[in-house]
Amino acid sequence: MRLWIYIARRLLILIPTLVGLTFIVFALTHAGGNNLILAEYINPRLSGPAREEAVAKLTAELHLNQPIYVQYFYWLAEVLKGNWGYTNTPIFSGSVTQAIALFMPNTLSISLFAALLIWVIGIPLGVFSAVNRDSVGDNAVRVTSFGLYSMPIYLIAVALILALGVYLKVLPFAGVVNPLLVSNVPWYHNGISYPTHILLIDAIIHGDWVVAGNAFLHMILPSLTLALGVLAGVIRILRASMLEVLDQDYIKLARAKGVPERAVYNLHARRNAILPTVTFFGYTVAGLLGGAVVVEEVFNYPGIGYWTTQALLNNDVGGILGSTLVFGLILIFTSLILDIVYAFLDPRIKY
């Protein structure tokens, strides 16, 4: 019962955050003045009176002559209707929502894969490191994660490309698939696979295991890079949290009542240590999404991040702000979900 009240409250807090997010994006759209917005719509080859006429028409149509707060509501209405403006980059020209629909699946697939890697590598390592405090293993984990923590993500990417891609030649490091494999595939054209736009899944749907395997191989390096970029922070936080928990009286009591060491760590300590880091995973998601921008650029992986950098290089407002908005929405809703999960896991939450 209490939990539902908590969730309701958490949903209420969502409203100002969403308003704030949309307002920031709106403000950024308009900060550059009307010309920047008009440039999205107007034919650049128009000039003279024809252009002026077009400008006047568009200004009225887009409500650009209204006070700024009124414009916000017109803008918001358009956004809610699904009209997020237009983007024009070498990899895609068209409406922003279409671009997102095309690119998001790729970003999601490598981010989720990376999150999975973080989960299966980060948590055991953090716990191991704390439990075996000051041992050789702990020191190795700490030095490695400290080093990773201090590396720019592009350096991690390049180091992995050089080691696994160039020298050992075990993993591909450009694009989503070997183009030769998909040159004659009916469900794949112009770099887009159908119906889900996630090549791996589409290939499985169509039973093309060669393409599926190749697509999976192409996912490994970008995901691993993303995971390593965020992993260090996760391990550090988890280790610190675990050490703090191991110092608590209830751990002393657990030992005093003869709980075997393994159960002390796995049952009594781990859950308490992970709980506070659940909200910290919001940071992880932010790190993953931000990292995706760089990783997709380095690996030529056509996701939202790649689109964002293309938009940046081509001065494309629609692309930049569209991706800002969609990244913001993803982050807001993932932290909402994480908070609710946290509330389910921790009996102490009471509001």
Binding site: L155, L162, A286, V293, F327, G328
Partner: protein, 298 residues
Amino acid sequence: METQKTEYEADRFREIKTSLSVFFSNKGAVVGLVIVLVYVVDALLVQFFPQALGLKHPYTLVSNYVNPVPQPPSASYPFGTTFPGVDLFTSILKAVRVDLGYSLFVVLLGAFIGTVLGVISAFAGGIVDEFVMRITDIFFSIPYLVLALAIGFVLGRTLDNMALALAIVWWPIYARYARGQALSIKEMTFVEAARASGSGGGKIMFRHILPNVLPPIFVQISLDLGTVVLVFSVLAFIGFIPNANVPELGYLASLGLNYVATAPWTVLFPGAAITLFALAVNLVGDGLRDVLDPRRRS
């Protein structure tokens, strides 16, 4: 009264002495400090005595279109060259100044805005507090790299604007942190005592709360500097600044990206330079955190 004061000073002195001994007993922190100092000296030399390092153009990259393809490290180019014929060693020397300067600017500006807003927020409470915190929420709701990119983009794609955008993205961290610190200090007995003895709100805020909020903020700054250096170079790496000729480590690394398979040094050397700096700063930050953390002092 007099003796009390000297006693207080003696206490203060002892406090500083233990702090220093805690810091210097941490080998990593000392190594970090030495590395940071090397970078700082390099930055200062480039700024004020570029001749000392033999740099003719300390603030720009020198291209060589006659031989633009990256050359491997050799006697004349200790770190090799990157596209278009840029000597990496001298460029890295120059770039340290840019990265260090801009990152410091970002962190200090962010920390200043954030601390002031955070302390005011904690002290005022009520609607002001709620308002400031909701704003920080909104900032936290967008991945900072993406938000900085968008803000910088709207401001115009220059190095200065990139730094400004990062500072705008960075202050909420400090606002939250300073607010938390200020709130806990506000509850402490000495603040109660000051209030009971009739000190005004402003006086309490600036004489009692702020000085106690600042040390943890400085530690946070030292911990953050490493992250900001990285984010700054990442933004430059993905091409934030168009056709720049500025020596910046991330930009320098991006120049050689297309050649990385055959000329790995083009990315590895600038990357290593920035990693070493971030590592050193993080080590120093860790050492400072030990000094402030009473649990780690014992």
